[in-house]
Symmetry: C2
């Protein structure tokens, strides 16, 4: 039912891609309840996204619903998890083992979604040789060597703002292909580098502002 060759050729629009994990979360919940089928109308009602949009999003991932009953839940979960990359393990390095970097190393939940943090790097000498949640921390100077050993594609950026751009350039020079940027700094990268910004502090600002408005 699922043609894995197509995975690398489908260029799903980012908004669609970002909605897929919401659908997955909901149908996994139905799965634990022993449900067998789900329709896009049913997902729509729960998630608050238009059902035609859901059907279109799901049309990108080579699974088709049956008339009247909808999508077979077990297949949809399996296909979505594989499509989203949650079933295969992707190695990552963390750059900057400060408060947020160390917190992300603690979050073993990431591995359930296909991300395995294999090492952290930091410039602070006192961190070198330590372990956080069994993950080793190395001096930044050992990055190139560790990269040769481990061939990691993903770099998680949690350095201070003033080091964000220089760390990014070092990561790319060392062979990192995708950067997950947790800093509030807008790093610049060449076109062939994948970038994903998760500005949790920006989300915080939005929340504070909205909270002020309802008072």
């Amino acid at each position: 039912m699922y043609n894995s060759d197509s995975k690398s050729t489908i260029k799903l629009p980012e908004p669609s891609l970002r909605r897929l994990p919401w659908y997955l979360a909901y149908i996994k919940l139905l799965q634990t309840k022993g449900e067998e089928y789900v329709s896009s109308t049913q997902i729509a009602k729960e998630i608050g996204v238009d059902s035609s949009k859901i059907a279109k999003d799901l049309s990108f991932i080579n699974i088709s619903g049956k008339t009247r009953v909808g999508y077979e839940i077990n297949s949809l979960v399996a296909v979505l998890e594989e499509f989203l990359g949650f079933t295969s393990m992707h190695k990552a390095f963390i750059f900057g083992v400060g408060s947020l970097g160390a917190a992300l190393m603690q979050d073993s939940g990431l591995s359930q979604y296909g991300l395995e943090v294999v090492a952290g790097f930091d410039v602070k000498p006192e961190l070198a040789g330590t372990f956080i949640n069994h993950i080793p921390v190395y001096p930044l100077s050992q990055f190139t060597q560790k990269q040769k050993e481990l061939g990691v594609q993903i770099g998680i950026l949690t350095v201070p703002i003033d080091k964000a751009q220089s760390a990014t350039e070092e990561m790319i020079a060392g062979g990192i292909k995708a950067i997950w940027n947790f800093t509030p700094y807008r790093i610049r990268v060449p076109k062939h580098i994948v970038i994903q910004n998760t500005s949790i502090y920006a989300h915080l600002a939005v929340m504070f502002n909205r909270l002020n408005n309802i008072k």
Copy 2:
């Protein structure tokens, strides 16, 4: 220069609001370098956002640049930090002290951005009475009582998917006004409740997908 009365009446569009922390990060960097003035053109070049858009975003926050020299950096940093809510402390509870919840309790960086996590709640009996990063963890049954003592407005949601909606309802019933949802589940809330979704696993999926496309 800054009229704090206006803070509660300005309804800044969310995309503008989300860009402000990027500007702040960059001008703070200039500040540490001893720069005195910055123009929207200069910010534009660094951040990759159109300069007219930047000028418009900044027009919402009661600060005006001077012809030729631009914005005075120290004032702009101060005004932005206050506008974004980073200078006053907002108390928050964490609901669900699993891997991600505990990691967020470890992230003392949040307090630098105005968020003070004052307690965590969990249903697991073995967590009750413990401390993470000096923050106490209580049984969920004590939420109403602790809420009466502490009057917290922000709830951080890090429970498992199947508990997301019920925990949300319990939070709102107990007086929580804003929910920072870290679960991939789309929770439903009444209109007067502020909600901010930070689906870090969805960002991960986008990154994996893009990485597959460049291979």
